[in-house]
């Protein structure tokens, strides 16, 4: 593996220089001034370049190969989006410039919000949340503020299905709610009878992903939303799986009151090794007064941002107006695809997922064999029982074939789960190669399990010892 930056450091070496400082020196009182320099690396530019070139070689992105990571929608990130986001007029404007000097940015934000409203069937969007989980927290605060405005203070609980992402219950807890978990039925949908049992006037809302985390559209969705509405609760849509249904169905029409989107999933903005994302939140009109400070609104006289004078607002969720340059990328994507392209993207995502499932289902049990949406889940429970080879082992073996493995061990309701989401931007050849490889590994699990147990072989490091990392944490370089 690579040397660390600090191991490349040579005392006195310099990289980038600044102009000589042509104004008098300033002496601050000694009590404020640092006595010893931070041990930052001292590196020349060419060594810096070689360092990061090496690190990039040991990093795997969508641009390197297939990434069927379920629920993460690792579609191709168009280069045009990067080009528009680096335009000077977007990248080099200060967030507190007067509004007359940033009308282009405001127009873009407004137009993006309208597009997202149309795609989801909502009435207004805030672009402020920085990521999906931040959007969830924002949405739940909106629900909280709404009930409070109605003096409906006994609603202390939020319902979350047991198949949900971990962020759902965590965000609900941050918003001050007690989390009620409801079981899923065999299709991964909400168990309606179980839901009935927990519905009462203490329920503030229900959080749902649809298609759900098994990749299935819940056929009872209208029943579910009406049941929750009947007891006075609101419906929260986790947009993690929107990539299945753009142009075909909309959460707003299903009865959802609040929606968050992951622009870094559905709208093709890059994941950046973990972020930045963008998690805009859409609402029905009756929730508009509660939108966070820093949300853009259009008045008769022009644009303005909500601020502390907007008293019904839930408050500010972060600084300024959101991850603007991420929003520029998503806007670029929507402009490129247009109404037909977005619909085609979803349709082809669903086609690719079904094609993959068809190719795999005789080898690996699929949790639900009907039509899936954009993703599906297979269980390796039987394989593990019979060969000792787990979902993790198969995943590690996939690395040697130049592919990123599917999401492992999620959703939690399926044992030895692999969650597979090919997205629309992969070709039939890639899907065929994945099917072929998965079958080969299945055979190998029975014939030579030790080969799989020791995989991967071609990566810069072999299997990494996570247990030691946690037991004896080394979280920075020891000089």
């Amino acid at each position: 593996m690579s040397k660390l930056l600090f191991e490349r450091s040579v005392v006195g070496r310099r990289g980038i220089l600044i102009d000589p400082i042509d104004v008098p020196e300033v002496k601050l009182d000694e009590q404020y001034v640092r006595q010893s320099k931070p041990r930052l690396p001292e590196i020349g530019e060419v060594d810096l370049v070689r360092h990061y070139m090496e690190l990039s070689k040991y990093t795997f992105g969508v641009d390197n190969g297939f990434y069927p990571l379920g629920s993460c929608t690792m579609k191709y990130n168009p280069k045009l989006n990067e080009a528009t986001a680096s335009l000077e007029g977007f990248a080099n404007i200060h967030p507190s410039q007067s509004l007359e000097t940033v009308q282009g940015a405001l127009t873009l934000m407004d137009d993006l919000s309208h597009s997202l409203c149309e795609i989801t069937g909502m009435d207004a969007f805030t672009l402020q949340p920085a990521a999906g989980a931040h959007g969830e927290f924002t949405g739940l605060l909106l629900i909280h503020a709404y009930h409070k405005a109605n003096n409906d203070t006994k609603r202390t609980k939020v319902i979350v299905p047991d198949s949900s992402h971990g962020t759902n219950p965590a965000s609900a807890a941050m918003a001050g709610y007690q989390v009620i978990s409801v079981p899923s039925n065999a299709q991964g949908g909400v168990d309606v009878d179980a839901l009935k049992l927990v519905l009462n006037d203490e329920i503030a809302g229900l959080m749902l992903t649809n298609p759900n985390t098994l990749g299935l559209f819940d056929p009872n969705i209208e029943l579910i939303t009406s049941m929750v509405h009947e007891v006075g609760g609101l419906l929260y849509y986790d947009g993690a799986n929107l990539n299945a249904i753009m142009g075909t169905a909309r959460p707003g029409d299903m009865g959802f009151d609040v929606v968050h989107l992951n622009l870094h999933k559905t709208f093709s903005t890059p994941h950046g090794g973990g972020g930045p994302g963008s998690g805009p939140v859409g609402v029905k009109a009756f929730l508009k007064p509660f939108l966070p400070q820093g949300s853009l609104v259009k008045e008769t006289y022009g644009y303005r941002f909500l601020d502390e004078r907007d008293q019904s607002s839930i408050g500010r969720m972060r600084s300024y107006y959101g991850n603007f340059l991420v929003n520029v990328r998503a806007y670029t994507y929507i402009q490129s695809l247009g109404r037909d392209g977005l619909k085609a993207a979803s349709q082809n995502a669903v086609l690719n997922a079904n094609y993959l499932m068809e190719g795999l289902k005789d080898t690996y049990p699929v949790t639900y064999p009907g039509t899936c949406m954009h993703e599906f889940v297979i269980s390796l429970e039987k394989l593990k029982k019979e060969t000792g080879i787990s979902a993790k082992d198969i995943s590690k073996a996939l690395l040697d074939y130049g592919m990123h493995p599917p999401t492992m061990y999620f959703p939690l309701i399926v044992h030895e789960a692999l969650m597979i989401e090919p997205t629309e931007t992969e070709s039939k050849e890639t899907l065929d190669f994945f099917i072929e490889t998965m079958k080969k590994l299945h055979d190998l699990a029975y014939s030579k399990p030790e080969v799989i147990l020791n995989a991967p072989y071609s990566t810069p490091v072999k299997r990494v010892d996570d247990v030691q990392a946690a037991r004896n944490p080394i979280l920075k370089y020891m000089f």
């Binding site: 930056l5 020196e25 810096l48 967030p95 559209f217 669903v350 990494v464």
Partner: protein
């Protein structure tokens, strides 16, 4: 077919046959029919790359890009080295997911580990997480790190960035955390008020140093008072200033948080930025978000992985202290590259340039009738009371392609100077303002 889709019509036909479906629409046969859209989305048709670029260029040209920026207030204009821009745009970094599959992600994991180390060096802390959304949410998340079952009060002064205070209020309102305002005297924390408000219920004291008005706080004294009641001191800071000023840890802080936009990240109309959170070792399990750690592989070779995940939402669900999942990893990479390209000397010089040029600008403004609002020592930002209305000054600056300091009231404004402004530009500005004032 548009949309970066590879399937040809012919392939689609083959694939549909294989899955025994008549058409693409047929894939949605199981959806309730009343939920299916009967018409196209009311959006424009897709456009060519050329047309989209033209549209975005037109929009971007409706934004004014100033050649000189004398406004900070939490967001600073610095030179971003070409090497940082170029390297951080490498596709492998940009298009990678969170490095859960460590064998395939050693590069990005190592970069996070290096980032954590650099932030620890700057702040003097023992541990640092892989980033949060921005400085304001870093402050909001830090509240959960200091509160205890029976200690739910956090003290914070009004001289922190207003967005930080507002975000803390939002996060606190449903979390059973009580926020109490600290008074200030002459722009700095009133130590007597702090002493008076510190009691057994105080979980933490939050401060910004240098504060929103650019002033240096007496952090050592604040630390003494805070620790006198066994509360935690949380210092919000601009990490660039840490290359010049005593580190938060050296001043007595238990947690250092803040906005690291100044480390090579463009102003970007507010984001994406970089929230950092660093702390003393005893608080490591209270840090939210991802953390990279060093370990070994099967052969005993050094390797990196995401660690201490038992703190996080995907394991703890509703018992996690934060729901953060996606963070700002790519911006952390930028900050790390920036620190490495500047080195300790370069970073100190950038900080020093801001310090000296801000003092020079203030001194010249005072010569033409501006007055300092606050007396205390400051770093690279300061507040002045102007002899004419600030809106006039802003207009004059605008004509010179300069973004003036931020207006705080009709005659008060907050100015920031960085290495990107030359003495010559400052002199021209002063000469012009002198004419206007006379």
């Amino acid at each position: 077919m548009a949309g970066y889709i590879l399937n040809t019509d012919q392939e689609r036909t083959v694939m549909l046959e294989q899955i025994k479906r008549a058409s693409l629409d047929d894939l949605y046969a199981e959806l309730p029919s009343d939920l299916k859209l009967k018409q196209d989305l009311n959006l424009s048709a897709g456009q060519s790359e050329f047309a989209v670029m033209a549209k975005l260029k037109a929009l971007s040209s409706q934004n004014k890009v100033y050649s000189t920026i004398l406004r900070g207030a939490g967001v600073e204009h610095h030179h971003v080295p070409a090497v940082v821009k170029q390297l951080s745009n490498r596709e492998e970094f940009v298009s990678a997911y969170t490095p859960y599959q460590s064998e395939l992600s050693q590069g990005v994991l190592q970069s996070i580990f290096e980032y954590q180390t650099q932030m620890c060096e700057l702040t003097g802390m023992d541990v640092c997480n892989a980033s949060v959304y921005d400085g304001a949410t870093a402050a909001a998340e830090a509240m959960q790190m200091v509160v205890e079952r029976n200690r739910r009060v956090i003290l914070m002064p009004e001289n922190m960035h207003p967005h930080v205070l507002q975000t803390m209020r939002t996060y606190a309102q449903w979390a059973n955390i009580q926020l109490v305002d600290l008074k200030t005297i002459d722009g700095r924390i009133d130590l007597n008020d702090l002493q008076a408000k510190c009691d057994a219920n105080t979980a933490g004291v939050f401060i910004q140093h240098p504060n929103y008005f650019g002033l240096l706080e007496d952090v050592q004294e604040i630390s003494r008072i805070t620790h006198g009641i066994q509360a935690k001191l949380v210092q919000y800071t601009n990490p660039l200033t840490c290359a010049y000023l005593k580190s938060p840890r050296a001043l007595g802080a238990d947690i250092a948080i803040g906005e690291a936009q100044s480390l090579g990240i463009p102003m970007s109309f507010g984001g994406p930025y970089l929230g950092f959170m660093a702390a003393s070792a005893d608080l490591v399990r209270r840090l939210p978000g991802r953390i990279a750690g060093q370990t070994v592989d099967l052969d005993g070779k050094r390797a990196f992985t995401l660690t201490l995940q038992a703190r996080e939402q995907h394991i703890r669900r509703e018992k996690a202290s934060s729901s953060i999942c996606s963070n700002q990893a790519l911006m952390a990479l930028v900050a790390s590259m920036y620190c490495a390209s500047m080195g300790p000397q370069g970073l100190k010089e950038v900080a020093d340039a801001g310090l000296r040029k801000a003092h020079y600008l203030l001194q010249e403004l005072e010569k033409i009738g501006f007055k300092r609002k606050y007396e205390g020592p400051f770093f690279n930002e300061f507040v002045v009371v102007s002899p004419i209305e600030h809106s006039i000054i802003e207009r004059v600056c605008d004509e010179m392609d300069i973004l003036a300091g931020l207006g705080l009231s009709s005659h008060e404004s907050l100015w920031c100077v960085t290495e990107t402004t030359s003495k010559a530009t400052l002199d021209q500005l002063i000469a012009r303002l002198k004419e206007v004032i006379q």
